[in-house]
């Protein structure tokens, strides 16, 4: 993006080069009179155009700066202080980060966050891709089923969490009754069990998110040229071979986007867990963003909460950069 803008600006700078014929003619007429004045005028107009452009994004940008950018930058500074949200912060250097190393609850939250991401990302990816492939065919009622698959995503998170909680009820919930048909006499305790609470949350969130990513995959699938499939069929490729050699490579840009979005989303999971398990039982499903909320808003240790936020930020940053790097490398090969 930045390269592009620079290129455009550079192209436009010698008068006449990057301009339309009409503009060039107009400028040209004046240029005869005084080349220096023309350059000034061109520059002034460019500045004015830029200002108009800025003024269009200004309302949004102001909001972004005030509500997002400043707090984010402030969080980095606050991470090195001891602050109760009211009195002057005390500079404490790396103390908050040293405390991170020994804080069992934060370590558990970090582990749970990674656990959630490792479960949620592949499961959602697989489910949404399968759905997209299934619903990309010309079957009767495809539009209806697509809408149905998208529905969970636009359903209120609170409703989703409440209903799934009931479905997962260990004693009388349909999930365990269903398992009973398959001979599982005592189904797992799901959200009441430390071992099964996280899988329950992962299943719920995959169910909720798959419709959204299915739409992305559907768009990706439709951009793959039909001719490639025809050619593959002519060469006698089986369905599996067509999937592996045509569909998957054709979907690579989409898969990459979905992967990045899913990873970032997984690491900042908060709402579903708060409504579904509140981090319990015990600390079995407490995630980093919840820990940040607890230490900051509830315990009033905003400096330490900022330090945990910085940790979460770095984690997501490193993961996303790695994904970009991997994607680029694969693109080249």
């Amino acid at each position: 993006m930045a390269d592009l803008t620079t290129a455009q600006a550079a192209g436009a700078s010698p008068p006449g080069d990057g301009m339309s014929a009409a503009t060039a003619a107009r400028v040209g007429r004046r240029a005869l009179a005084d080349p220096a004045a023309t350059r000034r005028r061109v520059r002034a107009r460019r500045r004015r155009d830029t200002l108009i452009g800025w003024s269009f994004i200004l309302p949004n940008f102001l909001g972004f700066v005030a509500i997002t950018l400043i707090p984010v930058v402030a969080a980095f500074a606050l991470a090195f202080t001891n602050w109760d949200s009211y009195n002057t912060p005390d500079w404490v250097g790396l103390k908050n980060f040293r405390r991170l190393l020994h804080d069992e609850s934060t370590k558990i939250a970090l582990r749970n966050t990674v656990y959630y991401a490792v479960g949620h990302v592949p499961l959602t990816l697989l489910a949404s891709l399968s759905l997209a492939i299934l619903l990309n065919r010309k079957i009767r009622g495809a539009a209806f089923f697509r809408a149905a698959a998208f529905f969970p995503y636009i359903t209120s998170m609170v409703a989703v969490a409440l209903v799934w909680n009931m479905l997962f009820n260990p004693a009388s919930g349909p999930v365990n009754q269903f398992l009973q048909w398959f001979g599982v006499a005592h189904g797992p305790g799901w959200t009441t069990s430390t071992d099964w609470a996280m899988p329950a949350v992962i299943i719920t969130s995959a169910w909720r998110d798959m419709g959204y990513y299915m739409i992305l995959f559907l768009a990706g699938l439709q951009s793959i040229p039909k001719e490639q499939y025809e050619a593959a069929e002519m060469d006698g490729a089986t369905a599996w071979q067509r999937f592996r050699t045509v569909t998957l490579p054709g979907l690579r840009p989409t898969t990459f986007l979905v992967l990045v979005l899913l990873t970032v989303q997984s690491f900042k999971i908060f709402d579903l867990i708060v409504v579904m398990t509140q981090g319990g039982p015990g600390r079995a499903t407490t995630v980093l963003s919840q820990r940040i909320y607890q230490t900051g808003i509830v315990d009033g240790e905003f400096g330490y909460a900022s330090a945990i936020s910085v940790l979460l930020f770095l984690l997501v940053l490193v993961l996303t950069l790695t994904q970009f790097w991997l994607n680029k490398r694969r693109e080249r090969s």
């Binding site: 909680n165 260990p170 009033g300």
Partner: protein
């Protein structure tokens, strides 16, 4: 003016509009003046869910009647967001005059940060001496920053009809063992129509606060051996199926009010705030449960009735615009007139004198038997959770471990041990 110039100006104006709006609201908010005694004052008070918490309006009306020059402007905040919102408001230098203190854990935060006005002289006056729950607002430095106007404590609610049907005597002065046996024998039926002998809500206080109150244990101390008996009782009742299983209650987000009002449970240990709801719901025809209250069950060998409670208080914002009027309101609410106003709608005032008790039991729909009256006069009410700067952290730890013990992920002993070691590690 050509078209482009016009567009530029329009865009600039559009961009500047939100700025202008910010500016003007700020300037109008900066007028602060000290009021003399009879000048009209608009007093702002932060409250939660005004429409469903009638005590606030009752207090405001009574106060306005006594002080016609002061009108009250409630700052209504959604109950669930109250603590978060207030923390943010105060951090941003909000000038709301009176701050309602929802619980002592938050109070510790506000007072510790120096966000509240010192009310020590009012709190140590002769009038305030009778206020129950006042001690909870004494900070480490010996100062008080809030005055309680309401003090709820825990009693045992029971459903008379279900006792009659089972041919059992109404509870009067139970021990915990008697209570557990009674709960088991009152349980009947199965499936949807099952009647539970009692209902233990999922809050940790149902087990922890009552055992701290009755054994004298310290909830902030780090040694939680005193929970053991109470956990054994609670798990015994749960294993016998005499209360809704903890896991089920959590996953289904069971409401204690509906369990009792729908006659699914014969007994319910709960705070006195539930009385106002029972009275209101019966009046509105939402339930016809025939109820009464008894004192909380006690440990064997103890003398008198010990229970626990939690006060609700008003405090004055240090940055209040009308500090004097605010203090006047806080004293009024904690005084006899305030007590009368809220007792009249079924809320238990902190100033619980014989006179307010009389007002209280004179309400339509209140049970009038002696046991109920006795339940309303406990000998000792200890604080649900002592105030300290570590309270919120310890509260979180105890809640997490409580879940593990009640869902049987951990044995009682292991849970108690873990509570102790976590409190020591994480709050030092």
């Amino acid at each position: 003016m050509n078209r482009r110039k016009f567009l530029t100006m329009a865009a600039a104006a559009a961009a500047a509009a939100p700025l202008a709006a910010c500016g003007s609201s700020k300037s109008s908010g900066a007028t602060g003046a000290k009021a003399d005694d009879n000048a009209p004052v608009e007093l702002s008070i932060s409250v939660w869910s005004l429409a469903s918490t009638p005590e606030f309006q009752a207090l405001f009306d009574a106060f306005h009647q006594a002080n016609p020059n002061i009108t009250i402007k409630p700052v209504d905040i959604l109950s669930n967001d109250y603590e978060t919102k207030l923390t943010t408001m105060l951090a941003a230098g909000d000038t709301t005059d009176v701050i309602t203190v929802k619980n002592v854990i938050d109070y510790a935060g506000y007072a510790g940060r120096g966000q509240l006005k010192d009310l020590t002289s009012a709190a140590t006056s002769a009038d305030a001496a009778q206020l129950s729950g006042l001690a909870s607002f004494k900070e480490k430095d010996g100062k008080y920053y809030a005055l309680p106007y309401r003090q709820d404590f825990w009693v045992l609610y029971y459903n008379k009809k279900l006792f009659d049907a089972a041919g059992k005597q109404y509870p009067t002065n139970l021990t915990w063992d008697q209570y557990a046996d009674l709960a088991k024998s009152l349980t009947s039926g199965s499936g949807q129509g099952k009647v539970y002998g009692t209902y233990h809500h999922t809050w940790r206080s149902v087990v922890q606060a009552i055992s701290a109150a009755q054994t004298g244990g310290d909830l902030l101390g780090g040694d939680y051996g005193f929970f053991a008996d109470q956990y054994a009782m609670a798990l015994g009742v749960q294993n016998a199926g005499a209360t809704i299983d903890f896991g089920t209650a959590t996953t289904q987000k069971t409401g204690y009010a509906s369990v009792f009002e729908d006659k699914q449970a014969a007994m319910l240990p709960m705070g006195t705030w539930f009385i106002a709801k029972l009275l209101a719901d019966k009046k509105a025809g939402k339930t016809d449960v025939d109820w009464a209250i008894a004192p909380m069950p006690q440990r064997p060998g103890g003398s008198g009735i010990t229970t626990f409670g939690s006060p609700t208080a008003f405090a004055v914002n240090k940055k209040a615009r009308h500090s004097e009027a605010a203090e006047k309101f806080v004293k009024f609410a904690a005084g006899p007139e305030g007590a009368k106003a809220i007792a009249a709608i079924g809320v238990v005032p902190a100033l619980l004198t014989d006179q307010t008790r009389q007002t209280y039991f004179g309400l339509a729909g209140m049970p009038a038997d002696d046991t109920s009256k006795k339940a309303f006069k406990p000998d000792k009410v200890t604080l649900e959770m002592p105030v300290s700067d570590k309270t919120s952290k310890i509260d979180k730890i105890l809640t997490e471990e409580h879940q593990l013990v009640m869902t049987k992920q951990k044995s009682i002993d292991a849970g108690i041990k873990e509570m102790g070691s976590r409190v020591k590690d994480e709050t030092s």
